[in-house]
Structures are given as C-alpha cells and as structure tokens.
Amino acid sequence: MAFGLSCPIPLNEYPVITLAHGSGGTLSHKLLRELFMPVFDNEFLRQEHDGASFPVKGGSMAITTDSFVVRPIFFPGGNIGDLAVNGTVNDLVCCGAKPMYLSAGFILEEGLKTEELWQVAVSMKQAADAAGVQIVTGDTKVVDRGSGDKIFINTTGVGMIREGLSIKPGNCMPGDKIIITGRIAEHGIAVLSARAGLAFETSLKSDTASLNGLMEKVFNHTTNIHVLRDPTRGGIATTLNEISQASGTGMIVNEENIPVSAEVQGACEILGLDPLYIANEGKMLLIVPEADSSVVLEALKDHPQGREAAIIGVVTADYPGILRMRTTIGSTRIVDMIAGEQLPRIC
C-alpha cells in the first residue's frame, strides 16, 4: 500500500511544535484533525470522544489515555499523581463507562527525590481507592537531567460501559439543556497560585476528584444522557465549542448562571484571565434532554460533589458550531475556542 509521506499541515506554517499546540485550543485541534486523525484514521477515532468505545462479548468497553505534565507537581488540593488517576477515571465516565483498571507509565527525570515519587505514588493509590479502580500495570523510564521535568505520568484506563447508556458528542440535540456540576476554573487558578514567579496567593484548592460516584447517582435516575465531558484544558468554553462543532449544533449559555467562586473571579480579574477558559479537574458538563434535566439536576445536587450544579444553557439549532453567551448585562456575544496558550502545563 502506498503511504502518503507528505505532512498534511503545511510545514511553512508550523515547522516546529509550539506550546500552543498543547493548549487544548484551536492549534491542538489542528494537530489532531490535520496530523493525527488522517494518519491513524478509523471508526473509533471518528467518534471524537474523550475515549473510544468498542464492542466485547456481553456489552461494550471504553478505553482512554491521558498524559500529565503539570508544573509544579504538588499544588494546593492535589498533585500530579491523583490528577493522573482522576483525569483518566473521568474520561472513562465521559464514555458512560464504569472505570475498572488503569495502567501507569512514569517518565522520571534524573535527580528527582525518591521521597517525592513516593508521595505521588501514595496519592495515586488513594485516588484509585476512592474511585474504586485498580492500577494493574505500569512502566518506568528515567531521562537525563534536563530532558524532562521531575515527573511525567501517562495513565490509560478501561471500563465496562453501563447498559442503556449511549454517550457521544453527536447525540447533542437542539433543545437539550447544558449542566455544569459545580464552580468552574478552580484547578487552573490553584496551579497558577502555586507557580514560582507568580507571587499570588489564594486559599483556593484544585478541584481534582474522580466523578464516577457522582455520575453513578445520575445514571441511577436516568440513562437518558446525551453528552458528558469533563472540561479540563481550555475550560468550559473550549469543551462546549468542541461538542458544538462535533454535533453541528449551536449553544447559548447564560453568564449569570455559570457558578464561579468570588476568589476565582477575583484572581481572574487581576490576572486578566477568563474563567471560561481555565481548567477544571473535578467538574462535568452534561448535555441532557430538557425532559430529564430537572431529574438530573436534583440527583447532582443531592451528592456532595454536585451541590453547586446548575443549568447554564441550552443547545440550539441555529448558529451551528458556535457557542454564544448572554452576558450579565443582557447582550449576546460569541465565546470562541482559545487560540493561543493561556496557561501552559496546567495538567
């Protein structure tokens, strides 16, 4: 078979990878759509989901993978270890799966303190126990000092998809309600506050948490959930743009209804950041039919992780592929996908 050797992204446009290619924004998507997808193309990738689901005897399974490069590795509310477990658990939840087994791949930099690695490993174990998953295989590599940055972790997870659930971006329908499970942007601001070079302090903690318990609660009331996504890198603005583009629907959210803590809002005002674009690691966006939305909201609010859940918007037939927002003063504007890199290496 002939193999196309020409790079689909014009080389004169981006001869090297920049940090913005890892932002989760438009350049990340360009890389995905124009480089990886054409090369690896298959029916599972075309689902454009947080993970892939595939049939097995007696049902369907989901598989997902994620790499973690957060700097610093310890931050208020967590560290790279629990982040790596929770992130992959949540991606499985987004596929409608009950997370079961995880792998863990470590890339360690020469000179890393063993004590720090131990702390990270213990956090991973605690996070796995809390989520009811096991880390059953792994790998360790060490690179020269300067070739990495302390610890990079990759986790891959598998789980069984719960019967009756069919969750994918394409299910998103006009009239559906958009729900967020709590206050946004806490992870990104917590990591930022821990960074050297930013003399900025808050008592904010990362929201890193596994959400399978919260979602089990919802599934027990209804399995009529169209889309589930955890709005990590790029924040809720990027995630909603992705769903909107993948499903060919429009969306409109109401700024007033989006839960943001005063501390996050204050930090964002000072630093010129927009909470809509800041990473979450313990929140879920749900897109559900209007008829099921109040049941879902009640189920969420009945769980400690969903107390602040809110309906923030609605899916529309007009403006396909575009996310709009009704502002606090009553006007309407576009909320675009982020172009550059607001905060590199946030997860």
């Binding site: 446009e13 090297v16 990878i17 920049t18 940090l19 913005a20 924004g25 438009t26 350049l27 360009k30 070079g197 930013l198 003399a199 005063a262 809002q265 204050g266 005002e269 630093l271 010129g272 502002t327 606090t328 003063i329 009553g330 006007s331 309407t332 504007r333 576009i334 675009d336 172009a339 550059g340």
Partner: protein, 364 residues
C-alpha cells in the same frame, strides 16, 4: 463581587441606555482610546445599547499593537542570535516579527520566558548571573512605572546582567496627533482610565480647549463605558468641551505621585515611532542618561536586525480610527488569532482580536 457586579448590572445598563437614547439628537463619532475599553465594548456588545447615531471608533491604545516591528525583530534577534534570556509579557510572544515570532524561536530552542511582572524578570537575572537577561519593556504610562522600578532595583541590587529593550508610548501626544490630522472625524474621546490613574488628567485640559473636544476619563466595565459615552454625548449636545472624570473611584486629578516621580527619575520624554502610525513628537519614554547602561539597544550589537513591514495588514488605518477590522481583506481569513498577520489580531487589547473573538464573521 464588590466593585465588579454593580458595574455589570443589567438594570443600570438599561437606564443608561435609555438616557442616551433621550439625549442624542444627531450623529456623533467618539473614540475610545484604550484597547481594554475596546475589548469591553466588544465583549459586552455595548453597541446593542447605543442609539444608532453613535459611532464608536477604536483608538491606538493597544501597547502591543503600536510597538514597532523593529523592536519585535530586535527581541527575536537577542533571543535567537545572541543567546540572551529574553523575558516578556505573554501578549508579545505571538506578535509576528518580520521572519518569525518569539513563541516560534522559543520552540526552536531560544530561551524566551513569560512573566506577569518586570520584577520577575529581574529575579531571573539574579538567578542566572552567567547569562544576560533582557526584558521586553513595552507599554503605556500604565506599565512604564513597573518597568522603571525594575531598572532602579537592578541598580540598587547591582544586577549587572539585566537590561531592557525599551518601547514606551504616551497617550496625550497620540491624541493630539489624531486630532490634528486634517481628516480627523473624532468629536469626543473616552480617555484611558488606567493611564489617568498614573498620570492624572491635567494634561488633557489644554487638548480639550485647543481642539474643542470633550474628553471623559472612562473606566472599563460596561456601566463605566456607558457613563463615559453619556457624559461625552451630553457635552456634545450642549456644545461643551470639558475634561470630566467619570472614573472617580480610581482616578485622581494629580494621578499617582510615586509612580510619576519614578518615571521622571528613570525615563525621559523623546520622539517615538508608533507602529502603523509613524513618529509622533515627544510621545515616548527612553531611559534617562543616568540609566542608559540598562538599555539593551546600546548594550548589544543589533545591527544585524532586518525589518520589513507586511503590505497586507491595515493595522495602521485601524489604529488611527480610519478603518474597522472588517475593512481588512485578510480579517478572519488570512489573518486569525492562531495565524495573525498583525499585532491587533494577537493582543488581548487589539481591536481585530476583539472583533474576531466576540463577533466573528462580521468585523463590524
């Protein structure tokens, strides 16, 4: 949140809008100076609340946009060819230079770092005594004091490997240049609130008198901007041309004395090249003679820098209020935030970026 919520209040916005509709009797063209105001106007779609006769024109108050291309090329040259640690505010990293941008040379191996404060750049210099560290010190009167402080501190702490690549601009001379242009259509200004926080607003009084334009010191929240516009329109309708402070919770007439003293010590006023506009007399700040040793342009041999302006980008027309982003044939097609041809599409204060992000496709 106090000092935020009441300035983004739908009810107050409605009242101001209704008052504006009652006050306006004809068409008026008003320029908001500051890019932060432009973004707020687009972000909150302020035009939805304005009577049809009010035409808002966006001013040159985007520090990234008016920084000469040559400065960006010099920064790139310093990082790429002279192996210095080039430290910058984030917005500058993606501004296209003649050949590349700072993010591109960083990806290719140059040591380019982003900070929120010039004092962090000084810290980098202290932590890397064997390397030269250059801070790309750009901006208006708002950022200049912190940049000045980094130089003063460098001297006090005897940090010999720190210098700044300097491109500071001043607002009032640019307003004068805009008003004295023969084809100027600006009938009133919303002055940049944060610039006045530093400098006060006494220098605007002769401008308002000489050119008979109302100048309203204006903030950045939707209520601030509508109040600024309402005050300007009231004056225009009454035939007045006064300087009025509509941002009293932040701005005092004399400004911030400490910051002004610092500017007076470290910098001196000089003629300055504004990208897209040209040289405006006495519109810039350069290091005072006593601090010239911290000038990266003098410390390093930058004669290898070769600058060529793109002939597609109409940023100059946009910055002077002659054109809107949608008038540019490249807007949203050849020029987007991820592939910008000019600075106004990059900067968080640039008009093109504001139009693209908040009301893409139209550009109007």
């Amino acid at each position: 949140m106090k000092y935020i919520d009441e300035y983004r209040d739908a009810e107050i916005v409605r009242k101001l809008s209704s008052e504006l509709h009652h006050t306006v009797s004809r068409n008026w063209t008003i320029m908001e100076i500051c890019g932060g105001q432009t973004h707020s106007i687009m972000r909150y779609r302020i035009e939805e609340f304005l009577p049809a006769g009010i035409n808002l024109v966006h001013g040159p108050g985007c520090p990234v946009c008016v920084t000469p291309l040559e400065i960006i090329d010099k920064a790139i040259y310093l990082a790429k060819e002279l192996n210095v640690i080039l430290v910058s505010f984030g917005d500058m990293l993606r501004v296209p230079g003649t050949e590349s941008d700072l993010l591109g040379v960083k990806a290719a191996g140059a040591d380019v770092r982003m900070v929120y404060s010039p004092l962090d750049a000084l810290k980098i210099a202290e932590d890397n005594p064997g390397r030269e560290v250059v801070f790309l010190a750009i901006g208006f009167e708002t950022t200049a004091p912190a940049n000045a402080l980094s130089v003063k501190e460098a001297r006090r702490r005897q940090v010999k490997n720190y210098s700044i690549l300097n491109s500071h601009v001043l607002v009032p001379p640019a307003m004068q240049a805009i008003l004295s242009a023969p084809d100027s259509r600006i009938e009133a200004f919303l002055a940049a609130g944060h610039v006045c926080t530093i400098m006060g607003y006494e220098e605007y009084i002769p401008l308002a008198q000489e050119y008979s334009v109302p100048i309203v010191i204006t903030g950045f929240e939707p209520v601030d901007i509508l109040q600024g516009i309402l005050e300007a329109v009231r004056q225009l309708e009454a035939g007045k041309a006064e300087v009025v402070n509509a941002y009293g919770r932040v701005v005092r007439k004399e400004g911030n004395k400490h910051a002004r003293d610092l500017l007076g010590e470290v910098f001196k006023v000089s003629d300055q090249n504004w990208r897209g506009i040209g040289v405006i007399p006495k519109s810039g700040l350069v290091l005072a003679d006593n601090y010239r040793e911290f000038d990266a342009s003098e410390r390093f041999d930058l004669s290898g820098v070769n600058t060529r302006e793109s002939n597609i980008c109409i940023a100059g027309q946009i910055l002077q209020g002659h054109a809107k982003p949608g008038d540019c044939p490249a807007f949203g097609t050849g020029c987007t935030p991820e592939h910008p041809l000019g600075a106004p599409m990059v900067s968080s204060e640039g008009s093109c970026s504001a139009y693209y992000r908040f009301s893409r496709k139209t550009g109007y």
